[in-house]
């Protein structure tokens, strides 16, 4: 073996690893894009649900929608994994401890974070709740530093903060005057949501050291859907909503299509998280807020306000900083 052949092998190996990481970045962006699509489609599907009273609108409908979204996405993923010959991998994974970790991640990110998010909005108001829950990538990044020992460079931190500010600008709603006595409880629930989503990613990535992300996300979606259906929906009267939707083919079809986008998005997110790390994966997934704006303007004739443009611009700049090192990008033939 001569030196030049050795060097060529090293260069080829480095290129293979760099291409793999670049694919991970694109997968992360794709997860954000499809999650934005899911948000818009889910909004359309929710518009087809008949009015069931004010009480139902706060908890029953959103939680029933979350349940249908996760369960149907889990079924889509089951079809995907089944046709690819990976069905038995699901059973094998569930018999190992890392598989159980993915189930716990599902509970944190599914019922706990979703429930906290809805309760936060209802008790503390959207202005505070949405701002707090938008911080989940920072929680994920901090936890990944502590538990996964993932190193996060300052450029990625700056990009992440810019993206979060952009997301807050887009979703900001002026606070209503007068704090209720349950305000701080609402803040607590919103914090629980941010913690739940951040912890989900870290725990799932830990489990995915030994489990295929395609299987992990299937387990995650089915676990979350089943727990919401059995333990949460009966408490809030959510089954009335689900049984109503099932009898309406158009509404049910709309939820199924939205869930397909959710399944694809989650699949991409889990894959990106394992390949490029939790901090980058979460930040790139966070571009869904911007994609949501783009899809709403393009397909729903939503007016493009100055706030939406500024917020989306910040998300874009932030995500670019997370994904690409400007110094290397501008080098000749630069590696991103």
């Amino acid at each position: 073996m001569n030196t030049s052949a050795n060097q060529r092998a090293i260069l080829m190996k480095e290129k293979l690893n760099a291409d793999f990481a670049r694919k991970g970045v694109l997968t992360g962006l794709f997860s954000g894009c499809t999650w934005g699509l899911n948000s818009v489609l889910l909004g359309l599907a929710l518009g087809l649900v008949p009015i069931l009273g004010e009480e139902a609108a706060i908890y029953a409908i959103p939680l029933a929608a979350a349940c249908m979204n996760d369960s149907l996405a889990g079924l889509w993923l089951l079809i995907y994994n089944g046709t690819a010959g990976r069905f038995q991998e699901i059973i094998r994974s569930l018999k190992t401890f890392p598989g159980i970790m993915v189930c716990i991640a599902a509970l944190l990110g599914g019922p706990i974070a979703n429930g906290g998010y809805l309760l936060g909005i209802s008790l503390a108001g959207p202005a505070y709740a949405l701002t707090i829950t938008a911080l989940y990538p920072i929680v994920g990044a901090l936890l990944s530093r502590i538990f996964l020992k993932q190193h996060i460079v300052p450029r990625v931190w700056v990009g992440m903060v810019l993206s979060i500010i952009g997301a807050i600008v887009i979703s900001y709603v002026p606070p209503e005057g007068g704090n209720s006595s349950v305000f701080y409880l609402g803040i607590l629930f919103a914090s629980l949501a941010a913690f739940g989503w951040g912890a989900e990613a870290v725990l799932a990535v830990y489990g995915m050291s030994m489990i295929d992300p395609k299987i992990a996300i299937n387990i995650r979606e089915l676990t979350s859907g089943i727990v919401l259906a059995i333990f949460v929906l009966p408490l809030v009267g959510g089954w009335a909503v689900v049984s109503k939707v099932i009898t309406m083919p158009v509404a049910f079809g709309a939820f199924a299509v939205a869930a397909l986008a959710a399944g694809v998005s989650y699949l991409a997110w889990y894959k990106a998280n394992t390949t490029i790390g939790v901090a980058k994966g979460m930040a790139l997934n966070g571009t869904y807020v911007m994609w949501g704006v783009i899809f709403s303007v393009l397909f729903l004739d939503q007016p493009l306000t100055q706030t939406l443009v500024i917020g989306s611009g910040l998300v874009l700049v932030g995500a670019t900083l997370v994904a690409i090192n400007p110094k290397e990008f501008f080098k000749k033939g630069g590696e991103a």
Partner: protein, 96 residues
Amino acid sequence: MAELLPLRFRILHYISTVDKACVEQIMKALEPEYGTEKQFKKAVFMDHLLDLKANFIIDDNDAVIDDKGELVIYYSINHEGRRLLNKYLPKGWRQK
């Protein structure tokens, strides 16, 4: 024989039993267990190896160009990979 492990888990476990191995060697060793499955493809194995490497559980310190001019990477387990296996490998697999 203990129940089959998820493929990614088994790949990590196999690498822990040898000094180093390339994708072809790993596939040959695991063929009796997973050879009839649809997921038994070189691209799938490579994806698992690149992810394990990206998560700092295995190393790819050894790379050569073979007679056909193709890149062959030899993977070996590192300290973190062994720590994870010691912690999470099911009992039935411990003596293997």
